[in-house]
Amino acid sequence: MLDRDGNIGIFLLGIAALLCYGAIELGIGKTHDPGPGFFPFLAGLIIAILSLGLIGSLLKGRRVLATPQGHLVTGRAALILGVFLLFGFFVEKAGFFVCTFVVTMVLLWANGVQKWPVLLFAALLTCAGIYLVFNVLLEVRLPLGILRWEGN
């Protein structure tokens, strides 16, 4: 029975296989004239060997180091990373300030701030601060998105 490290080993073995496949597609070339896939192929090959080593040592029951127990990804971490991904997807459409407003609220909420007036005030304050520093002082044009209107 494999534990988390074993699963990571299997995942990395898959990555190595994809890397080697991609490298072969690019062209490995010859040793006297290495192609664009030569180095990635070499890297993929070694990753595959090491992943097998990681899995093999676990199958034999040998652990290198005890790894921490508990959830691998907690709900809070998943929420923060998910919000970041959404920020990346919507920042250009919705605008930097709208996205920052939402993200600030979610981050504060995830960190235990539950009162809506506090959340709204803190998010507004953050957006105003960012606007002041970046748009006014540094003259950086952050995307306005849905806040764009004629003349700005």
């Binding site: 988390r4 490290d5 990571i8 990395l12 990555i15 890397l19 991609g22 690019l26 062209g27 010859k30 040793t31 006297h32 290495p34 192609g35 664009p36 896939g37 030569f38 180095f39 990635p40 890297a43 993929g44 070694i46 990753i47 090491l50 992943s51 080593g53 990681l54 040592s57 290198v64 180091l65 790894t67 921490p68 691998l72 990804v73 907690t74 809070r76 971490a77 923060i80 990373l81 970041f84 991904l85 920020f87 990346g88 997807f89 920042v91 250009e92 930097f96 920052t100 993200v103 600030t104 981050l107 504060l108 960190n111 235990g112 701030v113 953050t126 960012i130 950086v140 952050l142 995307p143």
Partner: protein
């Protein structure tokens, strides 16, 4: 004579008002990073790289290096007053520093840590001036095979000294190397692993990756484990150490400077190990070792001197060979490359304003830190009272703005988030992150050296063992890996016992 002329030239560069300002900003931000938990020097450096794109190379390296050694100073404050090191390099300081604070001697503890850091930092600058030009002169003889073997050697030491298993360390380094191949192949001019995404054609982007690995993941893990430390209510007074304090500390400071400087200059060692070793050495040679851990001033002076000297020593391979010694120097190296400066043996001759300007700034920065740290201790302490959840939200927002601000591209945020996830999982599963950053920075150079070597040798790998310098590096790398595999557990136990 040349040396004195070069130093004058360096001071001329650094004393320009704009460079003085960046030096001050660097040490100030560095101290802040050292004081506050949640973000370390690599994350802070990565966040500031987009800013450095708009300033001159010498100004940017002066500021970035200021953050590196400024953090060493700042880390001691939290170690002494809260018993929570703001930086890993200040872990040993907390053993005796916090005990001194509890005995009402926080002032002398903070004072000796600032003076010890200043002495060590100043001495390490002289070492840098002496050794870096000599080493870069020697490295001019290196060809692609020697460089390839030197980089392999750096990886071997890094994996040897970082905690965790050999296999996990190697895997992280190789993943970094593999990710470094994403983008345009400079030799063949074809895109590799870009999936027709324009954002990937210039490569993954070191800054976004490092912000994710060291900024986002650090906060995510800290939110699960962080406990707000209770600040020990004591009046910080009498910062100047007494004559007896100096008597107890001076030799440990000098010994720790030597240890820190020479170990710090070895790629992969970083600033943490010298602090452990210098503390261990002082305890071993002390007349009464039982004093250590109970508020003995030498236990503060030695590790603080060691971490500052190591920060200076770490610049030698970075500036003279183009080889980083840890995550922070890897990021500074990346910042130089973004500015179009090729680090390596020709850096000193091709860009003297960068090298000598930096050397002079190290000295000026150390003086600034001494002036900044002692009177502002009250301010640093009050910053520690900021609730961690607020601090973490601010840092996460900075990560978002920092990664978006590089190219104003949404894809950079996605890349940062993916690396944040990788870093989070890696930390929880005891995979070290520094080898991955090493791989990202050194990967393209490693590939270039390998391919050029093979072209030179008409495809024979024997070129790496037929050239003496390359052979020595490879033999040492192999020894480290074998040592790591068979003896590391015993060595680690010995160090931790110390």
């Amino acid at each position: 004579m040349d040396l004195i002329q070069n130093l004058f030239f360096g001071f001329g560069v650094c004393l320009q008002p704009i460079n003085l300002l960046y030096c001050f900003l660097g040490v100030l931000i560095g101290t802040l990073v050292g004081v506050l938990p949640g973000i370390g020097p690599p994350g802070a450096l990565a966040l500031l790289i987009p800013v450095t794109g708009q300033i001159r190379p010498e100004s940017s390296i002066i500021m970035l290096c200021g953050i590196m050694y400024g953090a060493m100073y700042g880390g001691s404050t939290t170690s002494i007053l809260v018993n929570i090191p703001g930086e890993a390099a200040s872990v040993m300081t907390s053993l005796d520093g916090y005990q001194m604070a509890r005995q009402g001697r926080a002032g002398p503890a903070l004072g000796i840590s600032a003076f010890g850091s200043f002495i060590a930092g100043s001495l390490s600058i002289f070492g840098l001036v002496l050794f870096a030009p000599t080493l870069s002169g020697f490295a001019l003889k290196f060809g692609p095979p020697e460089y390839f073997s030197l980089m392999i050697f750096s990886f071997a030491i890094l994996i040897f000294v970082t905690g965790g298993s050999l296999v996990k360390g190697l895997l992280m380094a190789l993943l970094g190397i593999a990710m470094g191949t994403i983008g345009l192949d400079p030799h063949a001019g074809v895109n590799r692993f870009t999936f027709n995404q324009p954002a990937l054609m210039d490569g993954l982007g070191l800054v976004q990756a490092v912000i994710g690995l060291f900024g986002v993941s650090e906060i995510l893990v800290s939110l699960e484990t962080f406990v707000q430390g209770e600040i020990y209510e004591t009046k910080v007074k009498g910062l100047l150490p007494t004559r007896q304090d100096w008597h107890d500390s001076l030799m440990p400071i000098l010994r720790a400077t030597g240890i820190g400087f020479f170990l710090g200059a070895i790629p992969g060692i970083g600033v943490l190990i010298p602090t452990f070793l210098s503390y261990g050495l002082e305890k071993r040679i002390a007349r009464d070792p039982s004093k250590f851990g109970k508020g003995f001033i030498a236990g503060v002076a030695a590790p603080e001197a060691a971490n500052n000297a190591a920060a200076g020593g770490a610049l030698i391979p970075m500036l003279s060979l183009g080889i980083p010694t840890g995550a922070s120097t890897a990021i500074v190296l990346g910042a130089l490359m973004i500015q179009g400066i090729q680090p390596g043996p020709t850096l000193i001759t091709d860009n003297p304003q960068v090298f000598w300007g930096l050397v002079a700034s190290l000295y000026i920065g150390n003086v600034m830190l001494l002036a900044l740290n002692l009177p502002l201790i009250g301010l640093w302490v009050s910053l520690l009272k900021i609730p961690y959840y607020l601090l973490s939200v601010l840092i996460l927002l900075f990560c978002l703005i920092g990664s978006y601000g590089i190219n104003y591209a949404a894809a950079d945020i996605l890349i940062m988030t993916i690396f944040g996830f990788i870093g989070y999982i890696a930390k929880k599963q005891d995979f070290e992150l520094t080898p991955m950053v090493f791989g990202l920075v050194l990967g393209p150079m490693l590939e270039n050296a390998l391919r050029r070597s093979l072209v030179i040798s008409s495809g024979s790998f024997a070129i790496f063992v037929s050239r003496p310098i390359s052979l020595v590096f490879l033999a040492m790398s192999l020894s480290f890996l074998i040592w790591n595999f068979f003896f590391k557990k015993r060595a680690t136990t010995m160090i931790s016992e110390d």
